[in-house]
Each structure stands twice: as structure tokens, then as C-alpha cells.
């Protein structure tokens, strides 16, 4: 994919941080507000795709290698399964929510019914949201990046 005009590049550079922060907010507040790892990861990955469309795949590939993205995606998957296995170790059941009610990280149980939300709740749910979010960001960005680069090298002829 070739780069676009200077106007598009500038607007993309201005809006990119806001979109990324919004996606990270959706991931981090997955246990309090609508959304979660998949949805927030899709938002951040679409911000990265926006950068790719505006700046061209060559510019992006000089800075991000798709191998590193694969490493991050595998890290997310390992984190997700690892938290599930920690449930097997500490709570005797696979996918056991072992952190809830422990007064440790994310361990507070909220008051029943509606009320003010506290981010320090949810047990392992925020950690799993983070793992799935990392996985979706890296995975979707790797897909878009590899496909964009393949089309450009196909258009330019074999090299």
C-alpha cells in the first residue's frame, strides 16, 4: 500500500492517540462497562490499520516487524491459558476465579446491586481481558500488515 497525501497523514497522526486510548480504556474496564478484550482490541487494531492506510506498508514495516507481532499474539494466548492453569493450581478447577475475595490484586467484591464501580474488582477477569486484548491487537494488526505488504509486492512485480 502506498502512502497517502499530507492532509490524511496529519489527521491520522492527530486522531491515532485518541482511538488507541479509547480502545485501551475498553480493554481495561472490561469488567465494569460494556466491551472487553475482543472489542477493545479490535478498536486498537483498527487504529493501527488507519496508520497503515495513511502512511503505507513500507513505512510501517520499517518500524514494526510482523514476527514481533506474532510473538505478542502468542504471549497473549499463553497468558490466557496460564491464568486458567493458575486457577487449576490455586482453586482446584480449570478457569477458577481464584483472585476474587482475596483482598489482593483485583480482589474486592463489590456491593450487591447497582452503584459506583471500582476498578479493583473482578478477580482474574481484568487479567484475562488484558491477555485477550493483547492477542487481538497483535493478531489483527499482523493480518492487516501482512496482507497489505503482500499486495504491494505483488503490484511491483517479483523482487
Amino acid at each position: 500500500m502506498t502512502e497517502m497525501s499530507k492532509i490524511v497523514k496529519t489527521i491520522t497522526a492527530i486522531t491515532f492517540p485518541f482511538v488507541t486510548i479509547y480502545g485501551l480504556y475498553i480493554i481495561m474496564h472490561g469488567h465494569l462497562t460494556p466491551g472487553g478484550g475482543f472489542q477493545g482490541g479490535a478498536v486498537v487494531a483498527s487504529a493501527c490499520a488507519m496508520i497503515l492506510v495513511a502512511y503505507g506498508s513500507k513505512w510501517v514495516l520499517d518500524r514494526v516487524k510482523e514476527k514481533n507481532l506474532s510473538v505478542f499474539e502468542s504471549l497473549g494466548a499463553i497468558g490466557f491459558i496460564g491464568i486458567a492453569f493458575f486457577g487449576l493450581i490455586f482453586g482446584a478447577v480449570f478457569f477458577k476465579n481464584f483472585l476474587v475475595g482475596s483482598n489482593f490484586l483485583f480482589g474486592i467484591i463489590p456491593a450487591s446491586g447497582s452503584g459506583l464501580a471500582d476498578i479493583n474488582t473482578g478477580g482474574v477477569l481484568p487479567l484475562m481481558n488484558l491477555a485477550v486484548g493483547l492477542k487481538v491487537i497483535a493478531g489483527l494488526f499482523a493480518i492487516v500488515l501482512v496482507m497489505a505488504y503482500a499486495t504491494t509486492s505483488y503490484k511491483e512485480g517479483k523482487k
Partner: protein, 91 residues
């Protein structure tokens, strides 16, 4: 009309009748017969998982294996896309 087309039309009519009966036998929207599991999740999800978002507590806690399958599907998709397009890149 060949024999093959007749069989296809007969099969289509059979499936259509089946679907029409299934649509007529459907429950009216919003009236469930068995609601004990829904009531359990609505009443106890906040105390069981500590999360205010009931959907996330179902997706990541009560139905964790389903999310594991989704993550595996995403992993397979990424691996296959990279596998397909890497070949075109290195030619």
C-alpha cells in the same frame, strides 16, 4: 425436468415445510419456560465473580472454555493468513 431436479424440488419442499412448522411452534418472544439458570446468573454473578459487568463474567468465568475456543480460532486465523502471504512475499 430431469430426475435430479425433481429430487431437488422435493427435498426443498420437505425442508421448507419443516422450517414453517418450526416457526409456528416457536415460543413467543420474552416468555421462557425454564429460567432457573438465567435467574442464578442475574442474582449471583456480582457476588461470584466480583465484576459489575454480567456479560464479561459469563464470557470469561462461567463460560471460559468458549472464550478459549474463540482465542484458538483467532490464533489459527492469524497463523494461516501469515502462512499464505509469506510465500508470496519471498518469491
Amino acid at each position: 425436468m430431469s430426475k435430479r431436479n425433481i429430487v431437488a424440488v422435493l427435498f426443498f419442499c420437505l425442508v421448507a415445510v419443516f422450517f414453517i412448522f418450526a416457526a409456528l411452534l416457536m415460543h413467543p418472544f420474552g416468555e421462557i419456560e425454564e429460567s432457573s439458570m438465567d435467574d442464578y446468573i442475574i442474582n449471583n454473578a456480582q457476588q461470584d465473580t466480583g465484576a459489575n459487568n454480567g456479560v464479561t463474567s459469563v464470557v470469561f468465568d462461567y463460560r471460559g472454555f468458549d472464550t478459549l475456543g474463540e482465542a484458538t480460532i483467532l490464533f489459527t486465523a492469524v497463523a494461516s493468513v501469515i502462512m499464505i502471504f509469506r510465500r508470496l512475499k519471498n518469491d
